[in-house]
Subunit: 275 residues, 2 copies
């Protein structure tokens, strides 16, 4: 269930849309692209409603786990059909990607493995002339080499032809250096929507003897902790005020995946605030 | 196709089995557990052949993408059936995992999402009394929080009850700190089989001005490189000999995923050795 979601995607940004299983990511993306209907609210591009507006819908491509292509069609045929439907296709980029990924375009869609099914849809997503490229679990089934090719080709294609990307994935650390903005969806609500840089600057891991760490972080927004013997790490998300740091205590930042786990961990949420 | 594979899994080790899509990982695991037959060669446990030997087959559990359970069965029923078949089940651990993962055991197997399908099979794998726990893509569809729970429960279960684990996964960096040994399968052949510690100690990234880096690494096993402006990074796998390091050049290690990509990258392989 999606509730009270109010989102605005700006031009030429690369968004990471993060959420736990069942948080509502796929529903949100399907509503945005008119594949399912919202019971309330609407989706607009340039202040025009998207619903039943083909010229606006044609500005978006959603690559998702749900397959919309006939199993019996050859990949090259699906490319031709999509080119007609969207009014264009970057064949030069496609040829490069086909060679890098080693995909055989004479194959039938229904015969693809999980990894190559993802790869084929990524090629469509990068080569169709859309303003919004929306990728739901883009690297499902891809091995490490193919994931590297995808991330680097996404950045190259973006810098050649800036447009808006929305990446929904569970592999948070792999996209942390690619995205400009991070959106966290939790139980159908947006709990974070900010530039990655700002988000990471607000993460603080405070490490040292337990008493010193606890007294230093008192009143701060402690979202998680670890204990290693007598050493305590408290993880703070937010400002540190101007309080004086004891010599025994060390400050650093922590990563986006760790922050995500802390902010969306319902079972652990209570525990982290104890003690 | 698997060819010339000669592997010995030792007791109480945690192996990472790595390979690209199509390298033969799943075939190998299916042969080991007698699900498909090898055209040549055999699988032994304690020097006894596994083929058609139920007492030996009962020592292994393979969790794979292929579902062996009836879609209409309740999860709790599959647990009871498996307990009978394998002669035991750790209900105490299972109850803990069921709560941590938040899985409803009254559901039917066929109704599970990709993530919960993986989670259910992981619970079976950790709680059945087998000597060899074999996990093919164990975290497929799991969000970051569930992956953390799985890795930490795997280590806890291993230290409580040491046995042999074999993890086949594309998420190499996530298991790099968990596994004791790494096996890399490439095009049906084993190209690496060593303790992780030894492997990482043989990785060297050599960074500095291009000429200095090239002359320092001449004759060494350079498996990859990067250029950033005038700065060159050559990635060496193997010994550095006793050659003198110029002051301008910096040495460090690189990670397992990077090594994997270099060693298994057929397209790039040639290029890395050029200049």
């Amino acid at each position: 269930m999606i509730a009270d979601v109010n989102l605005m995607f700006e031009e030429n940004k690369i968004y990471g849309l993060l959420g736990r299983n069942g948080a509502g990511k796929s529903s949100l993306l399907n509503i945005m692209t008119n594949r399912i209907f919202a019971s309330a609210g609407e989706v607009k591009i340039d202040s025009e409603s998207v619903a039943d507006n083909d010229s606006k819908l044609g500005l978006m491509y959603l690559m998702s786990e749900v397959d919309l292509y006939p199993n019996g069609s050859k990949l090259s045929q699906i490319v031709s059909d999509s080119e007609l439907m969207y009014g264009g296709f970057d064949h030069q980029l496609a040829d490069k990607l086909i060679e890098e990924f080693g995909i055989d375009m004479t194959q039938k869609f229904g015969k693809l493995s999980t990894g190559y099914n993802s790869i084929f849809k990524l090629i469509l997503a990068l080569c169709l002339p859309v303003k919004f490229v929306i990728l739901d679990e883009p690297v499902l089934g891809l091995d490490a080499n193919h994931r590297e090719i995808f991330y680097s080709e996404l950045l190259a294609s973006y810098s050649e032809n800036p447009r808006t990307f929305i990446l929904a994935t569970h592999l948070i650390e792999e996209i942390a250096t690619i995205i400009s903005d991070v959106i966290i969806l939790d139980q159908g609500r947006i709990i974070l929507n900010q530039p990655v840089e700002d988000v990471l600057a607000r993460t603080h891991s405070v490490v040292g003897p337990k008493n010193d760490v606890e007294s230093y972080t008192k009143g701060l927004n402690v979202v998680g902790h670890d204990n290693i013997g007598n050493i305590r790490a408290n993880y703070v998300y937010g400002d540190l005020d101007d309080r004086r740091l004891p010599d025994t205590v060390q400050l650093s930042n922590f990563d986006l995946q760790k922050l995500f786990v802390f902010l969306t961990n319902q079972y652990e949420g209570g525990k982290h605030h104890e003690n």
